[in-house]
Assembly symmetry: C2
Homo-oligomer: 388 residues x 2
């Protein structure tokens, strides 16, 4: 069956922009040498210049200084490296107490769980009904042995934006490192490290129509860090392994192609969909904060319906969205995010995560709202429950 | 200056084959969803099928069974994951003694050094003048607390092939895990896991005209393994992080494009170059084994000349090779491989690593031998030393 997709879940992975591939091509076929050759052959120097140009562009974009941005294989590696790297480096100096929010994405959350198994003490932060962390709770939890706090910039499923500026101020004042996963906010919300004084920030290209397999980690100068990926002296001796030059070049290009106008378009699409669905379809609940949410995300629970039944019907009509109930479908668990904001498993299983990308239009939004009206009403009829 | 390169150091990174990019394209632009969606949208299922198809192809290629091959971001991650994953998983059960050869590539060697800092006991294996590990030494070094041995399939700089079959038999008999880094032998030498009974094998696409940023790890069923990259349930719950579908598809395509005929061509080019240079240029020494070496590699020391001066002159004539003296030029250290085979820093600094790839011809080999004759003689004249 040929399906022309109109909505894509770009929280997870986005369609690459053709212009990104065009930018990468010379580094597949013409300038593909190892970039670390400062002497030797000129192709190696060209490759190195491309790598450093991409690095400088991304560093400037977030207000990072020289030597503060390292490339990685993606947001998962960035978060693993930051969390494990900083925790291990500080274990004997500062202490082994760590703080993390309950609704982090799996690479963050499971890095903490892995450290917990190795003997670290981890405090898991509760969030309110919108998914917000209370900065004051962090202030109270920090003790002399606390070495690291990790709170995401915004949530991967429900889109809630944290008050990361205040959290950073608290951590700075208490002399505790702060890591923030900005995978879902990067280029969508301003991130100026002169304003938000985080020590480590995870970013990635896969959420912004860039290539898979490339991400970066902001690592503030002087941050205690135990190298995660051992290898050669690449990336200021902070990350071994051959550099992915086409990936770095594609990452830069992907960021260049984003704009505040595009983000405004996302907000319009998001708000229009939320308004139509919440007004027109009974027994629906918005998950996440009504206003403090990222431009490209809507997340709605439809009572008395399985989210997966909706996605199947949407798929047949050319809309690709995901359920909030299982970030990775092989897990049959209910979303830890929906449970974290006080939802029960039913609310989790009836939820839909809709993400807007560059290749969607306002027409798509209208068509999807129409489709949802029909599908949900039909499914409720069949199940004959809940609509009273 | 426009330089048309004729020789490329494909030990480090190879020019991508256009056919690889063509195979990857649909997964950038049409089938780019997360592959873990077993329910939901059909694009996710297509992506998953592509991932599993690539996985099965690569697994079959080396004789791995179902669930025994996981994709990674490259050989560095594969080796870090294997070594750290197996060492940590066995620390309290089997023991903390590890064995590794002295001439391993940096991701392997430095993973062991990192574990050593964390309290593991590491034995570093000497090699002979050709770079060969004596399997008997391993047999003698293994003690009840030994949990892991790592010996490469062949060396990254001097190309020497190890007797990995015998080493695997010893490890199996002694009930000790064996990891082997096959980055530089994969598709160049047969690797049948029914024959060579290793427990973990590192492979990568970057050495065979495939994409950067994708590799794989063979992980034999039942191997004690502590997950290295925490995240979701991907890759049989052995490696978190979004799957790189275009990368996996490109990896498969790159392997499909290799052939034994091509390997024979590499051997012819290698032997012709070695013969001409060693016969025609005085004061030259072959580094590595004269016959037990990988098809695509030659490594020669030119006495009384800096390897870096030669590479600069070769570069101007369109030949890209690297020195054996500094795998990563930011390191000013002499090659640990040349030192490992008994060379002094001078021998290391005067050595040249030449790697043959798909896009080289026999004509290139002749031209390069001519160029080397001229360049080396000129450089020796200038320095006015050594030629007597």
């Amino acid at each position: 069956m040929e399906v022309k997709y109109r909505y894509l879940d770009n929280s997870s992975i986005t369609r690459m922009d053709e212009r990104v591939l065009e930018a990468m091509k010379p580094y597949f076929f013409e300038k593909y040498a190892i970039p670390t050759s400062e002497t030797g052959y000129s192709m190696g120097i060209e490759a190195r210049e491309a790598l450093e140009d991409s690095r400088n562009y991304l560093a400037n974009y977030i207000g990072a200084g020289e030597g503060e941005l390292i490339f990685t294989s993606g947001s998962s590696e960035s978060s693993n490296a930051a969390i494990k790297g900083a925790a291990i480096a500080q274990k004997n100096k500062k202490g082994n107490h760590l703080i993390v929010s309950k609704i982090e994405d799996f690479p963050v959350l499971n890095s903490f769980k892995s450290l917990e198994k190795q003997g670290y003490e981890v405090s898991y932060l509760d969030v309110d009904e919108y998914g917000m962390v209370d900065p004051e709770t962090i202030q109270k939890l920090i003790k002399p042995e606390t070495s690291l706090v990790s709170v995401q910039h915004a949530n991967q499923e429900i889109g809630t934006i944290q008050d990361i500026k205040t959290i950073a101020e608290i951590c700075n004042e208490k002399n505790v490192l702060l890591h923030t996963d900005a995978t879902h906010t990067f280029t969508k919300l301003p991130l100026d490290l002169h304003e938000i004084k985080a020590d480590m920030v995870t970013i990635s290209a896969h959420t912004l129509h860039g290539p898979s397999g490339i991400g970066a980690l902001y690592l503030k100068k002087g941050t205690p860090f135990n190298k995660y990926l051992d290898g050669g002296f690449q990336e200021f001796n902070k990350r071994g392994g051959l550099e992915n030059i086409p990936g770095a070049v594609g990452f830069k290009k992907a960021v260049e192609l984003t704009s505040s106008e595009e983000n405004d378009k996302f907000i319009q699409m998001r708000d229009h969909l939320m308004q139509r669905v919440l007004n027109e379809i009974p027994h629906t609940t918005l998950n996440g904060h009504p206003t403090e949410r990222i431009p490209q995300n809507a997340n709605i629970t439809f009572d008395y319906v399985e989210g997966e039944s909706i996605t199947l019907h949407l798929d047949m009509r050319g809309f690709a969205v995901s359920t909030g109930s299982a970030c990775f479908s092989r897990s049959l668990q209910a979303s830890h995010v929906i449970l974290g904001i006080g939802g029960d498993p039913e609310r989790a299983h009836g939820s839909l995560r809709i993400t807007f990308g560059r290749f969607n239009s306002m027409d798509d939004v209208g068509a999807m709202a129409d489709a949802l009206n029909e599908i949900v009403s039909k499914l409720r009829e069949i199940s004959a429950i809940g609509t009273q």
